[in-house]
Amino acid sequence: MKIIYHCYGRAHSSVVAACLHLGKLPMAGRVKKEEIMAIPEFDLAQADDWGEPYLMGRDELANEVYILGLNSQAPVCVRAILSLAGQLGQVSQIMLVNTLPAIGLATRLGGFISKKLNKPRVGKPLAALGILQALPRLRRLVRTVKTEIIRKVQDGEEETDYHYRW
């Protein structure tokens, strides 16, 4: 299965969610701002990277974990991806997870300053701080995704299309 965490720019919330999923960040306990900022993909993607899924790694069940930036066009793009998957008979092979609702104003503002105003030295730490505040929500999201994957494997259920919008 392919798990795609998607957000606005593929630079902050989706990166951290994918890292949590892959065990690169702990699912419990304290995380330092420096650890967030040290993630190679954090605050990295540019506008040119939007629409291109980026493979972050494989989880313990060999599911491929991707991140994807969909700008403000997530609803239409998600419909298109699921529609394409449906036409190809592969809806069961894909799970799209929107990470944007899990983050707050600080990350959005940090991302804006770093990417739109091109001031990463100011924006990146602010975005990381926002991620720390949103970490419990991101962890809950990833936990739910993992539960769903396990449930799906156990049930052998293969006809549901997944799109989470927390």
Binding site: Q73, C77, R79, A80
Partner: protein, 129 residues
């Protein structure tokens, strides 16, 4: 525009009209999705039929900003084990805009508009786009 292009591609409609009367007759036909699609249907691939060479023809409403949507679809294809070179995403609006800018030779009036779409479909069918 896309439903019309699909209808021409599939041979339901002719690639050219010579008179306005002919054009008006075609416009009166109840072309599926000819009235446009609501926003909630944007992004959904709608299968229209199979062309002469066995190619599958779909229409896709993209909204006002098609670039990211089309880019996303193209980049998702390898994830599904598909070769993007087997797919053609034709931006009808962009083609007609090129015609409007004078980059493509055009004839005036509604027949001209129809025939531009017919010409675009012809190019697609010949593998020129």
């Amino acid at each position: 525009m896309a439903p019309l292009a699909a209808a021409i591609h599939l041979g339901y409609f002719p690639p050219r009209v010579e008179t306005e009367e002919e054009f008006r007759f075609l416009r009166r036909q109840l072309l599926p999705f000819g009235q446009g699609l609501k926003t909630v249907a944007h992004g959904i691939l709608l299968p229209m039929g199979q062309g002469r060479a066995g190619e599958e023809v779909y229409i896709l409403a993209t909204g006002k900003k098609p670039d990211l949507l089309l880019k996303t679809l193209v980049h998702m294809l390898p994830l599904f084990g598909e070769d993007p070179s087997n797919y053609r995403f034709i931006d009808c609006q962009a083609y007609l805009s090129r015609a409007k800018d004078g980059k493509v030779q055009t004839e005036p009036g509604p027949c001209g508009w129809y025939n531009r779409i017919g010409a675009m479909v012809g190019q697609v069918q010949r593998g020129l786009l």
